[in-house]
C-alpha cells in the first residue's frame, strides 16, 4: 500500500474461526484492499487465545499483535469471548508497565459479515504499528 514503502512490520493476528476469520474472508471476497503486513493465525475462539501467545509473539519479534473474536454475546461458543475480554484486557494493562507500548496490542470484535470493519481494523492497526516502528524487546538478534 502507498505510504508503507517496502518496509513491512511483523504483525500477528489471532482470529476466531467463526466471526473474525469469516469477517476477513468477507473482506477478501469484497476485494477490500488492505496493507500486507498482517499474518493471520486461525483459532476456534478468542477464548482460545492465551495472553501468553501475545507475549510469545512480541518477545519473538512481532511488532504488533491483533486478536479478534465474535462480538460479546455473539460468541459461537457462547462464553469464550467473555473470558478472552477479561484476560486480554489484563494483558493490555500490563504491557505499558513492562515498557511495551499498549498500542502494539489490540483486541477487538469483528463479525463474519463485517468485511468493511475488518478492512478498517487492519488499515488502522497497521498504520499504528508503522508509526511505532520495530519492537526489539530483548536486544537480541
Amino acid at each position: 500500500m502507498s505510504g508503507l514503502e517496502n518496509k513491512e512490520m511483523k504483525i500477528v493476528g489471532f482470529l476466531c474461526n467463526w466471526c473474525s476469520y469469516g469477517g476477513a474472508d468477507t473482506a477478501g471476497v469484497s476485494r477490500f484492499k488492505q496493507p500486507t503486513d498482517l499474518r493471520i493465525i486461525r483459532v476456534p475462539c478468542s477464548g482460545r487465545v492465551n495472553p501468553l501467545f501475545v507475549v510469545k509473539a512480541l518477545l519473538n519479534g512481532a511488532d504488533g499483535v491483533l486478536v479478534s473474536g465474535c462480538h460479546p454475546r455473539d460468541c459461537h461458543y457462547s462464553d469464550g469471548n467473555f473470558y478472552a475480554r477479561r484476560r486480554l484486557e489484563m494483558l493490555k494493562r500490563l504491557l505499558p508497565f513492562l515498557g511495551i507500548d499498549h498500542r502494539r496490542f489490540h483486541y477487538t470484535w469483528v463479525s463474519a459479515s463485517e468485511g468493511a470493519r475488518w478492512q478498517q481494523v487492519v488499515k488502522d492497526f497497521t498504520e499504528v504499528i508503522h508509526k511505532l516502528g520495530p519492537l526489539n524487546l530483548t536486544r537480541e538478534a
Binding site: G99, H106, T138, R139
Partner: protein
Amino acid sequence: MSVDKLKDAVKQILNEVDIVIGYTEGFDKVHATPLFINTQDKVDQLIWDQRCVHNLASYLPSLKRKKVGVIVKGCDSRTIVQYIQEGLINRENVKIIGLPCSGVISLKKLLKAVDFANIDDITFEDNGNVNVKTEKETKTLSLMDIAPDKCKTCQYPTPLIYDILIGDPIKSDKPKESVYEDIIEFDKKSLEEKLAYWQKVFDRCIRCYACRNACPMCVCQDSCIAESREPHWISQRATLTEKFMFHLIHTVHLAGRCVECGECERACPMGIPVNTLKRKINLEMKELFDYVPGVNPDDKPPMYTFNVDELKIKEHKIG
C-alpha cells in the same frame, strides 16, 4: 503473646489432625524453619517471633487429602482464602491457628544492616527494637527498617480466616493508599526506562525456579510449563527472551491470584523484584473488578469468570 499459649493450642488440635505445621529454630540464630508436628513431644520445639517469615499455608494443597493444622500470620491467611476460592483445599480438613503479627524480618535487609557480618544472636523487644549481636558489635535496629516491604504497608496484620486466634487482634495502622505507591510511582517512568529496567533485572535470572517453587499459588509444581516440551512454551536457552518469557508466564498465571505474600522475592537468590508485576496486575484487578485476591472466600478469581456486561472494560480504539 507467650509461645506457651500457641503450644497449648497445637497440643489440643493435634488430637483432631494428622499434622500441624509451625515454626522452629533453624540452623542458626537468625533462621527459623518449618516444623511438622505429628506427635505431642514435638510441640515443645515450636517458636513464634519475628524470624517466622515463611508462608506455611503453601504446604496445604499438597496435603489436601490429610487433616492439617497450620499456623498462619495475617498475610499468610490470604493464601488460605485464595485456596478456598479456587477449591484447592478442603476447608473442613484444615485447622487454622491464626497469629496477629506486627512484622517480621527480611534476612536480606538484616544482613545488609550489619554489613554482612556473622550474626551470633538476635533478640526482639516488644517496642519494635531488634538487638543483633555480631562477631564485631552489638547493634539495636528498628524492626521496620529491616522488615520486608510487604510489612511496611501491611493491611492484614490479623489473619482473615482462622479457627483459633492466639493473641489480640491487631488493626492495621498503614494507610491503604500506601500499598501500591511504589507501583504507581514506577509506572510514571517512560516506556524506555521501564523496558530497560525489566531487561536489566530479568537478565539476572538464572532460571533456578526458586520463585516458582516458593510461590503458594504456583500449584502446578512439577507440571510447570517452564520445564515442559509438551507444550513447549519456552526453551532452555539462557537468553533474555526466554528469561522474560518465564517471568511473564509466572505473571500471567498469577493474574488475579497473587496474594502478595512475597515468598517469590524472599526465595530469589538474584534479588529480582519478582512480585512487582503481579502486584501491578492486582492493582488493575481492583480497578477493573473490585477484586482483591485472598480476602473473601466467596469471591471468584476474575480470570476464571466474567460478566456479560463488563462495566469497567471499554472497547479500545486502535492506537
